[in-house]
């Protein structure tokens, strides 16, 4: 149901009854390794191209999420997902295997929460019994499409981010055990004129702040309502800009803990990832793996996940266009919290 100007409140409190995360070897060496269901030792997953490897990551995550929900593929009504590849091939090709009626979406790295918001809305409005939501990315496919071929060995500035190899999927249901998806805020496209694809954190930070403020405005709440607020993949540069913007706009973020998924998945001391992590898979695996595990352990009751996306294409940045950005927020509550 519409709440305020751009938010949905899910009054039936749909549950995430199954979830799964599958990552690559580099993520498996990071500090969140224990929270992932499957860690692959081979970046190519035994496939003959990186693109096929990304598709395979998603297929595994989707199948495992359905299995963890105690369901079969036939019982899922809709599959909502997307990725970073041109024409979202990773998700569409995985949907070919899964044979679930499919709604493909593109929100760049904000896809993780965009898909969860759409899936939760379908379930909450009784348009679906079970909906699968997903997002995935692969380091090598993103490097190839958006930056330079890895063999080229081009230098990266310290503001660059490292795309996560990973896929996260969740099954949203009308009832059942699991954390509840309680509301979502759909973001506007914000473009502050940054055109450097090696500084996406700075480009995305204003979009994250805009959506978070809209969320508080629509629900008439303050940051303290949540035990944790996380942004998707702003990483060091974008996180600092977001903190400055919160100060400037007088948003009392000190009431809660504010973190960024892009700064959680890798170990800055040991792993050379410049500013931090990015990619659809980043917020998906951190949320569906690490954060929901911590919620299950009663470390948090209410979290707001704000996935951030840079809506550029290889053509648009070659033509010198600035980078339009977006952020979508979804609030997840532990099932112990009463509405």
């Amino acid at each position: 149901m519409l709440k305020g100007h751009q938010s949905w409140v899910f009054e039936n409190r749909p549950s995430i009854i199954g979830r799964a995360t599958v990552v690559g070897p580099f993520e498996g060496q990071g500090p969140l390794a224990e929270d992932f269901d499957i860690i692959h030792g081979d970046l190519r997953l035994g496939q003959d191209s990186w693109e096929k490897a990304e598709k395979a990551l998603l297929e595994e995550a989707a199948k495992l999420a359905i299995e963890n929900a105690g369901l079969t593929q036939e019982q899922i009504n809709f599959f909502v997902g997307g990725d970073l590849m041109n024409q979202i091939i990773s998700t569409s090709f995985a949907a070919r295997t899964l044979m679930i009626p499919y709604i493909g979406i593109f929100g760049a790295c904000s896809t993780s929460m965009e898909s969860l918001a759409v899936a939760a809305n379908l379930v909450d409005s009784r348009s679906a019994k079970f909906a699968l939501s997903s997002a995935c990315s692969h380091n090598a496919t993103a490097e190839k499409q958006f930056r330079y071929p890895t063999e080229y060995g081009s230098q990266k500035p310290p503001t660059a981010q490292f795309t996560v190899t990973g896929a996260g999927a969740s099954v949203v249901a009308q009832e059942g055990q699991g954390p509840r998806v309680t509301s979502a805020t759909i973001g506007r496209v914000i473009d502050m004129g940054i055109s450097d694809p090696f500084n996406m954190g700075a480009a995305m930070a204003p979009a994250a702040v805009d959506t978070i403020q809209a969320h508080f405005r629509d629900f008439q709440i303050e940051p303290g309502h949540y035990d944790l607020i996380v942004t998707g993949d702003l990483s060091k540069v974008g996180y600092e800009i977001a903190c400055d913007l919160f100060d400037k706009h007088k948003v009392p973020m000190h009431q809660t803990e504010y973190k960024d998924c892009g700064m959680m998945i890798y170990d800055y001391g040991k792993q050379k990832v410049q500013a931090g992590a990015s990619g659809c898979g980043c917020s998906a695996v951190v949320t569906y793996g690490h954060l929901l595990n911590r919620m299950r352990n009663r470390e948090f009751n209410r979290i707001l996940v704000v996935a951030t996306g840079a809506l550029l294409s290889p053509i648009s940045y070659q033509q010198g266009e600035s980078i339009p950005c977006i952020a979508h927020a979804v609030s997840i509550e532990s099932e112990a919290v009463k509405s």
Binding site: R44, W50, A140, E143, Y148, T150, E151, Q155
Partner: protein, 116 residues
């Protein structure tokens, strides 16, 4: 002494490239092209040969030397054979480098498959 000059001049050329990356935000391709053009202009003005004499490999190894070689060959052939020499001379000095790039790329392509 030439070792020191090679180090300083070669390093200075690389610093120009790094500044193009970090300050002017040029792409690797733009930076490389700029350095080649600078080397070509320097040779056209008769400055690159003295630089190589002065700094040795410090001037002949960086990519600017490729621009120098392009112009060098063209000018030499121009003197010998007239205007048509500009066309025949451009790749005269650089042909070994270009042929090596093609042949070694071919050999590498036989052994490994790029996936980047």
């Amino acid at each position: 002494m030439i070792f020191l000059w090679a180090f300083l001049i070669g390093g200075a050329i690389c610093v120009v490239g790094q500044i193009c990356f970090d300050v002017f935000k040029l792409t690797p391709a733009h930076t490389m092209t700029l350095l080649v053009v600078l080397g070509a202009i320097a040779d056209g003005l008769g400055l690159y040969d003295p630089l190589i004499k002065f700094a040795g490999a410090g001037a002949s190894v960086p990519i600017t030397s490729f621009g120098n070689s392009l112009v060098h060959g063209a000018l030499e052939e121009l003197k010998k054979h007239g205007w048509v020499g500009i066309l025949t001379g451009i790749f005269k000095v650089t042909s070994s480098g270009i042929s090596a790039a093609i042949i070694f790329s071919f050999l590498a392509a036989l052994v490994v498959k790029p996936k980047g």
